[in-house]
């Protein structure tokens, strides 16, 4: 909408949203100054992230699920002549992403509290970059101007690039991974920019004035002829398919996750990649409904391949970080199926999958990090028999594994079940193929659990490369090997418990009572579906 006023705010609550976007940026700048006092920097960063989380909750309570499509909206002109605005607002889907990011950041900071950084890097820089990135990703989810979205989409690569390239694994490898990550995403972004400008010029040719305003653009472009839509769709699609990684655009992710510090890896798979799925839902479907439907089989094929291929590759990894990356690729496949099956259940499943995946995979990666702190290795074969020595660590690892394999009663089950039952209605073949992923998930999770946690004590964690002791030695053994091993490594400490506790609670809570979450997401999903031309009868209750 090209109003004459430069600044407009519709509905209440916009200042809150603005605060959500800006606070972490401010925090990041301030924290960066505490270079010489790591403790102060960390505490300040954590405080900022906690206040930020509270702010996202305020936004959550200011949002009315049954209200307008975009709420807490506000806009200011940026480049008026091109119809570019600084405009933000949230729908139910974006809202869930904001709260998720808000909640995840303090957890990641807490988990990174004692991160061993490469030489010459300060904790202040590390935490500052994380906060800056939080701010940018918040803005990406809240943007309601397509050009603004593009700019943020690209800018958020910068802190991430430095986080991987500056704070990750050994020198050259981490820089290789960072550059690879950057080039991939950047290239995708360029294609998106091309499409965005294409959209602009299409709007201009139809209405006489070009704009990047999401709502206007959507209204006009969605009626474009199919051929045009397909071209424009492609640009956005590639950007998002790289981000969310669908096979075969995925190879940057395992490298990036492997070379990142664990906390950054959590952000990468838990948050940044979600922008891809979010983009499908927010941009591809409403803006190019005809193209989305025409090309759905293509995306579904890629997604199902992602489910099966990602699962099989996960089963074949020995590095636990790469394992998590491939698990994520499989999960993104599920989300892709959900988005492009176009039923209320599958879409709600995909949206909640975004949240649940962050919790489950995030927790898995964090626990992997905690294991590696003790065993000084991310290789699964360097471990064995941890369950006897560190039962609590083993228990949380197992729980993270259970939600990763979507066991009923955990949060992920709700999403996966909704994706599958919903997509079966319109796409039975793809749904059945994806269901096979359930078996593979059990395979790769239990394989890793058995390798690391079960069997005889083994590995570097106990100061030996070779199997250290055979537990089945019977009463003949001189000293109790388990007690000895317990002296070498400790179970979860207080900080680690504090970090994992909220995730454990959420896993069970959202597994048994997901209704509030579903109720927030559902109206926005229905609106998205309506824009694709799928009618959703919200009153069609259980008969």
């Amino acid at each position: 909408m090209n109003t004459s006023t430069a600044v407009s705010i519709s509905g209440g609550g916009f200042p809150w949203l603005l605060a959500v976007i800006l606070l972490p940026l401010l925090g990041g700048v301030i924290v960066a100054f505490f270079k010489n006092d790591a403790r102060l920097a960390k505490t300040a960063a954590l405080l900022f992230s906690l206040v930020e989380f509270a702010l996202t909750l305020v936004v959550l309570f200011n949002y009315h699920a049954s209200g307008a499509r975009i709420q807490l909206a506000g806009s200011a002109d940026w480049v008026a002549s091109f119809g570019v605005h600084f405009s933000f607002g949230v729908d139910g889907i974006a809202l869930i992403m904001l709260v998720m990011l808000g909640g995840l950041t303090p957890i990641v900071l807490g988990a990174s509290w004692q991160e061993k950084l490469p030489e010459g890097r300060s904790m202040a820089g590390f935490f500052s970059l994380i906060l800056v990135m939080e701010s940018l990703v918040m803005a990406v989810f809240a943007a309601t101007d397509v050009f603004l979205f593009y700019v943020l989409f690209e800018i958020m690569l910068i802190p991430m690039y430095f986080l991987i390239g500056g704070y990750g694994g050994p020198g050259l490898r981490r820089q290789y991974a960072a550059v690879k990550f950057f080039l991939y995403s950047f290239l995708g972004g360029l294609l998106m920019l091309a499409s965005a400008i294409g959209c602009w010029s299409y709007v201009e040719s139809v209405t006489g004035t070009g704009t990047f305003d999401w709502a206007t653009l959507t209204r006009v472009v969605s009626h474009a002829p199919l051929g045009t839509q397909i071209w424009l769709f492609m640009g956005f699609f590639f950007a998002f398919a790289i981000k969310a990684p669908l096979v075969p655009f995925h190879t940057w992710l395992p490298d990036a996750v492997q070379e990142s510090p664990v906390g950054v890896g959590v952000f990468l798979v838990g948050v940044l990649d979600k922008v891809g799925i979010y983009g499908f839902l927010r941009y591809c479907l409403p803006m190019f409904p005809a193209a989305s439907k025409t090309l759905a089989p293509l995306v579904l094929v890629l997604s199902v391949i992602g489910v099966l291929y990602g699962s099989l590759l996960a089963a074949g990894q020995s590095d636990m970080k790469r394992f998590v990356a491939y698990v994520s690729i499989a999960h993104f496949g599920f989300m892709g199926v959900g988005v492009f099956a176009f039923t209320a259940q599958s879409e709600v499943g995909a949206v909640t999958y975004m949240l649940n995946h962050s919790i489950s995979t995030g927790m898995l990666l964090l626990v992997v990090g905690m294991i590696a702190v003790r065993g000084k290795s991310f290789k699964a074969e360097d471990y064995g028999g941890m369950a006897k020595v560190t039962p609590l660590l083993a228990g949380t690892f197992f729980l993270a594994g259970l939600t990763t394999l979507s066991l009923p009663g955990t949060n992920s089950f709700i999403s996966e079940f909704l994706v599958l039952i919903g997509s079966y209605e319109t796409q039975p073949v793809y749904a059945i193929l994806a269901t096979i992923g359930m078996v593979l998930a059990a395979l790769y999770v239990l394989w890793l659990v058995q390798r690391v946690m079960h069997g005889p004590l083994r590995g570097k964690a106990f100061g030996a490369d070779e199997p250290l002791v055979q537990v089945t030695g019977g009463p003949g053994a001189a000293t109790d090997p388990i007690s000895r091993a317990k002296g070498m490594i400790k179970d979860l400490n207080g900080r680690e418990r504090l970090v994992l506790a909220p995730m454990v609670i959420l896993i069970l809570l959202l597994g048994f009572y997901p209704k509030p979450l579903l109720d927030v997401v559902n109206p926005s999903v229905s609106a998205t579906l309506t824009s694709v031309g799928v009618s959703v009868d919200a009153n069609q209750g259980g008969n």
Partner: protein
């Protein structure tokens, strides 16, 4: 189908049935070591309390008019998304209440027994937490009022069994067995899941009452597909062909777990699912026939393999495979067999739990030894175990008057009474199975309790001498109670159709027909004769000769095949595991050098030397902006060209 009523009176408290065991599990898991002292007592108390509530609800239900006996209790809305409204609700009807009594009753006895059996384990309270989780999941499985909540309990049982089978996690065999159980269950679960998807896509609900009322509106092909997919799920959970091979491996868990899995809970879930879905199976002859086939094949596999093993628990495990096969066979007979399957399920619950606890008592007294070749003459050393075990043995071989006689013979009778070739094939399979059962069970009893005391000059698995002794009362009292059930349950439940009449509101009336080649008397005589032959052969082979302590390796081909589980594992290994592993390795290789190789080829152009990399990093923003501009111009140009030329 009877009409469904909202629950009232004591039935509204039935959520406690789930909440109590679940609460116990939660307290024990969160409490950790702090609950060491009283954890096992809490576990037992919650199960016993659940049993009492179940009993009151049950008695209350018997007082209702027949038409009012199917009740539903809505608890909360679980997964509501538009047309999909999955509620957390319970269905209280004769079938589910019967299961509740079995699960909490036998489960409670096993709990009590475990206090003694696990007394030396320093993680005993965690063991009780898992047991409670198991019972809670199983109760949810049978009490749920929709397929989705059933699925929640279904996988919960799978989880609990994984934890319990893999209890001794430091033993690689236990960890592998646990993983195998979970995976094979998951294969079955895929079937169940897809069945749920089909039901929802066609009927827009997953709730039993609505599904069952409208299932007839679907096409016959769809109904058959659903029935077969449900059967796949049932095969996974109940250890039926072709997913049977996890069940014997599951013996790696502590013996009370074996009793729990094999008698009161888990394996009965598949039979429950088929019986619960009776309105679906009623409409598909092909589906029912497949169930019967699966049951018949499995019961024979179980018997044959059971004859060859020397591991006391493995023999009992295969006997379970085979007995569940009987139940499946019965369930596949439709209205002629649902109730018979449940009757046998209950009597089996008693005698098999008794047999497993007896085996556990033997192991307890024999330093965890399971090799029957090292046993012998234990009757004198552990008389209570021997007598209770003996009663379970007589029950399972169908000794006239005992439990198995009534429940198994009814199934054999019904199997014979099928028209045409089916009567002969299924009837004979069931009858031959009875003969084989008599053989291997007699062999087991003779090798364990009678004959020479071969353990005198042997060492146990742990390298100790044997000092066989009777178990403590906390262990043998449950065994005695179960033995009483082994004697009387069959007669009590069968005579006068007591149980089948009670189950009518859930399963429909039990029908009988005499379509088969033989009369009832002839079938009974045939079965008894076959069983007697089995017993006699066992006496000749085992009882009258010395049992070699070391297993003879020069044996005929059938024995070798049976010892190799009829090549079930080998088949899995060659057809699935090995190709899967190779595929996996190929994919990992391809991902690294195929897809990523292509990417890196491009990447090298950008990367160059490390010096240029640094340059890229320092001149970051500038080059970023520049390349963004350049790339954008090219792409926009191309796109606009396409648009305006097209």
């Amino acid at each position: 189908m009877e009409a469904v009523h909202p629950a009232s009176g004591v039935a509204t408290l039935s959520w406690l049935l789930l909440a109590l065991p679940a609460f116990g599990a939660l307290v024990l898991l969160i409490g950790g070591k702090r609950t060491d002292k009283w954890g096992h007592l809490l576990g037992c108390l919650t199960i016993i309390a659940a049993f009492v509530i179940g009993l009151i609800t049950f008695i209350n239900a018997t007082g209702l008019a027949v038409a009012d006996r199917v009740q539903e209790l809505h608890l909360f809305s679980w997964i509501p998304v538009n047309a999909l409204q999955v509620d957390f609700g319970l269905r209280l009807d004769p079938l589910s209440l019967t299961f509740v009594l079995l699960i909490t009753g036998v489960g409670g006895l096993i709990h009590i027994y475990s206090i003694g059996y696990m007394s030396h384990d320093r993680d005993r309270r965690r063991f009780f937490a898992y047991l409670n989780l198991f019972v809670a999941s199983m109760l949810l499985l049978v009490l749920s009022d929709s397929f989705v909540t059933l699925y929640l309990g279904w996988e919960g049982v799978g989880l609990a069994s994984y934890l319990l089978i893999g209890w001794y996690t430091d033993r690689p065999a236990a960890a592998t067995a646990a993983k195998k159980a979970f995976l094979m269950n998951r294969v079955g679960d895929v079937g169940l899941a897809i069945a749920i998807f089909i039901l929802f896509a066609n009927l827009h609900t997953t709730q039993y009452s609505v599904v069952f009322a409208n299932i007839h509106t679907l096409s016959p092909g769809t109904i058959t597909a659903i029935a077969l997919l449900l059967l796949l799920g049932a095969c996974g959970k109940s250890g039926q062909f072709p997913l049977q091979s996890w069940l014997p491996d599951a013996m790696e868990g502590p013996t009370p777990v074996s009793a729990l899995i094999h008698a009161a809970t888990m394996v009965t879930a598949g039979v429950y699912l088929v019986c619960r879905s009776n309105p679906i199976y009623d409409l598909t002859t092909a589906g029912r026939l497949t169930v019967v086939f699966v049951g018949a094949i499995t019961l024979l596999i179980g018997c044959v393999v059971g004859c060859a093993y020397d591991d006391i628990k493995k023999v009992l495990a295969y006997s379970t495979v085979s007995q569940i096969g009987y139940m499946m066979l019965a369930a596949g007979l439709g209205p002629f067999g649902y109730a018979l399957a449940i009757v046998h399920l209950l009597t089996h619950g008693f005698f098999k739990a008794g047999l497993f606890l007896g085996a556990g008592s033997v192991m307890h007294g024999m330093d965890d030894e399971v090799n029957m070749r090292k046993f012998g003459g234990l009757f004198k050393r552990m008389p209570i175990t021997a007598v209770t075990f003996g009663l379970g043995y007589l029950a399972i071989i169908g000794f006239p008057g005992l439990s198995g006689y009534f429940s198994k013979d009814a199934i054999i009778d019904a199997a014979f009474n099928q028209p045409g070739w089916e009567g002969w094939v299924f009837g004979l399979a069931a009858a031959i199975g009875a003969g084989l059962t008599a053989f291997y069970m007699t062999r087991l009893v003779l090798m364990t309790f009678f004959g020479k005391e071969r353990w005198r000059d042997q060492k146990s698995v742990n390298g100790n001498d044997f000092h066989p002794h009777e178990a403590s009362p906390v262990m043998w009292v449950p065994m005695v109670i179960l033995a009483v059930g082994s004697i009387g349950a069959g007669a009590y439940l069968s005579i006068g159709h007591r149980l089948s009449d009670w189950l009518t509101p859930s399963l429909g009336a039990l029908q009988e027909r005499s379509a088969g080649p033989l009369s009832s008397i002839e079938i009974t005589i045939l079965t008894l004769v076959l069983a007697a032959i089995g017993v006699l052969v066992a006496f000749v082979v085992v009882g009258r000769r010395d049992v070699p302590v070391v297993r003879p390796e020069r044996v005929s081909w059938p024995v070798r095949a049976a010892r190799a589980n009829l090549y079930g594992d080998a088949l899995n290994e060659t057809l699935i595991a090995r190709p899967g592993l190779w595929l996996d390795r190929a994919l990992v290789f391809g991902d690294k050098f195929g897809i990523d190789g292509a990417v890196n080829g491009i990447g090298i152009l950008f990367r160059g030397s490390s010096g240029r990399l640094r340059k890229l990093q320092t001149g970051f923003v500038r080059s970023y902006a520049l390349s963004m501009l350049g790339g954008a111009i090219v792409l926009i140009g191309a796109l606009l060209l396409v648009r305006f030329s097209g």
